[in-house]
């Protein structure tokens, strides 16, 4: 057969594309379930990490089961609020922050997860999302019930530079957030600044940035202040209630 004729070339290319498409779409269908499960478990694990729970996931025999049981044990309630701080309908776990952030602030659904700790105290976990250097970064901030002090935080990223910006998902970066305050003494939301060159000792509104990861660090600062700003009314209302 003449493999150089136009007809042969066209038929060959068309067949090849159809076969490739068939293989890829069947793979996508078959693998969709385990992939979604992985994403769900990771999200639960991230929420738990921000309240310092479920930390032994890597030693657990069955990571999935361990995370599921810890999650149902500690995360007792979750709900969606709007920027006025009122509860609205919706499932907090399935809210897609990426889509919400494209909307006007007033229309956004803001998820809140409540964690009931062993000693009975309640922590409030707020998901945040923003931009790093190469792509999205996101995380969870857990507040103590004064709605001001950070209990824990946890960050992750899609594709920040390994060894530099990617370090935001390490505990040495997120641990110093614990104990910091997001409101100043006058009750103004000042958020947390990730400071290049290191935070001044005793500064309760700042943490150290990552050397060589300035744009990612600035992204974290912007992400925290932008996202907390949308929760400001909720935090203030809740604080008056308590």
């Amino acid at each position: 057969m003449d493999t150089n004729s136009n007809k042969y070339t066209f038929i060959y290319a068309a067949l090849m594309v159809i076969i490739a498409a068939a293989i890829l779409s069947s793979a996508a269908i078959v693998l969709k379930k385990p992939q979604q499960k992985n994403v769900e478990i990771e999200k639960k694990q991230n929420i738990l990490t921000s309240v310092k729970k479920g930390l032994e996931a890597n030693e657990a025999d069955d990571k999935t089961a361990y995370i599921e049981s810890e999650y149902s044990k500690y995360i007792t309630t979750s709900y969606v609020v709007n920027s006025k701080g009122d509860k609205i309908d919706g499932d907090a776990f399935t809210v897609d922050l990426n889509k919400e952030q494209a909307k006007a602030v007033e229309e956004r659904k803001l998820p809140v997860f409540e964690c009931k700790d062993d000693d009975g105290s309640v922590k409030y976990v707020l998901p945040i999302r923003g931009k790093g250097l190469w792509g999205p970064i996101w995380g969870y901030i857990a507040l103590e019930n004064d709605m001001n002090t950070i209990f824990g935080a946890n960050f992750d990223h899609k594709g920040e530079t390994p060894g530099l910006g990617a370090e935001i998902n390490q505990t040495w970066f997120s641990d110093p957030f614990a104990g910091k305050k997001i409101f100043n003494k006058q009750g103004v939301l000042v958020s947390i600044k990730v400071t290049k060159g290191g935070a001044a000792p005793g500064d309760i509104h700042a943490v150290d940035a990552i050397s060589g990861g300035t744009i990612t660090s600035d992204g974290v600062t912007a992400m925290i202040s932008d996202c907390l700003a949308t929760y400001e009314n909720f935090l203030k209302n809740k604080n008056n209630e308590l």
Binding site: T3, T9, Y12, A13, A20, L31, P34, G159, P162, L164
Partner: protein, 217 residues
């Protein structure tokens, strides 16, 4: 061929072992440099990258070799690209489904396998003109040669840049300046220029041991 060639004949063994040194894709053919710079900050992603490249390269070589007599000459590069892209997406999907942690570590780099010129280079240079079994061995050999250099570069970059090997801390914590010691990680090691310099040093050492590789003036 009248007599059947043994599976690991000296000729076939060469296909595996030559790319490790004398015909190394990175240090001698200077292919696949960009991914060698990108994934070698830490050893673990470098290792998984090397494994993924091996899977993709060996399978792509076999598939192209099986199809070699049917591929229309004018669109052969596109056919090769489709095969590579197909395999890379499959590898990525499988990693995402069954070893999610590893797939997160590699993130964008799995997709970058498509642009790894070693794969295109081997398909063009070898698989199009050889039978499946030698092509398979050639794929394994070249991916191993690539992986070997990746691991060497990653070893030095992680040791001096982060003070650890495979994530385990090697440099004692008390040595660090922030803990009152005298040592500080070299920030340059985690940036790409240092990977290029490390590859350069490896090429230098390699050529001074194998003088026949040095080009005549």
């Amino acid at each position: 061929m009248s007599e059947k060639e043994p599976l690991f004949s000296p000729k076939n063994r060469k296909l595996i072992f030559n790319p490790l040194s004398k015909d190394n894709p990175i240090t001698v053919q200077v292919l696949g440099i960009c991914s060698a710079l990108a994934v070698t900050v830490k050893m673990k992603p470098a290792f998984v990258m090397a494994l993924s490249v091996m899977v993709v390269l060996a399978s792509a070589n076999v598939i192209v070799s099986l199809l070699r007599n049917t591929i229309p000459n004018r669109i052969r590069i596109i056919v090769q690209l489709v095969i590579i892209a197909l395999l890379v997406i499959l590898v990525d999907q499988v990693l995402k489904a069954y070893v999610y942690d590893v797939s997160k570590q590699l993130s964008v780099f799995v997709g970058l396998i498509i642009t790894n010129c070693i794969i295109m280079g081997r398909l063009e240079a070898f698989a199009l003109g050889n039978k499946p079994w030698p092509s398979f061995l050639d794929g394994i050999g070249n991916a191993a040669g690539y992986g070997l250099i990746l691991m060497i570069v990653a070893f030095f970059r992680e040791l001096f840049g982060s003070g650890s090997i495979f994530g385990f801390q090697i440099i004692p914590d008390v040595w660090y300046i922030k803990n009152g010691g005298f040592y500080e990680n070299n920030g340059l090691m985690v940036l790409s220029p240092m990977a290029l310099i490390t590859v350069g040093i490896i090429i230098w050492v390699h050529r001074s041991k194998n003088r026949d590789l040095i080009e005549k003036k």
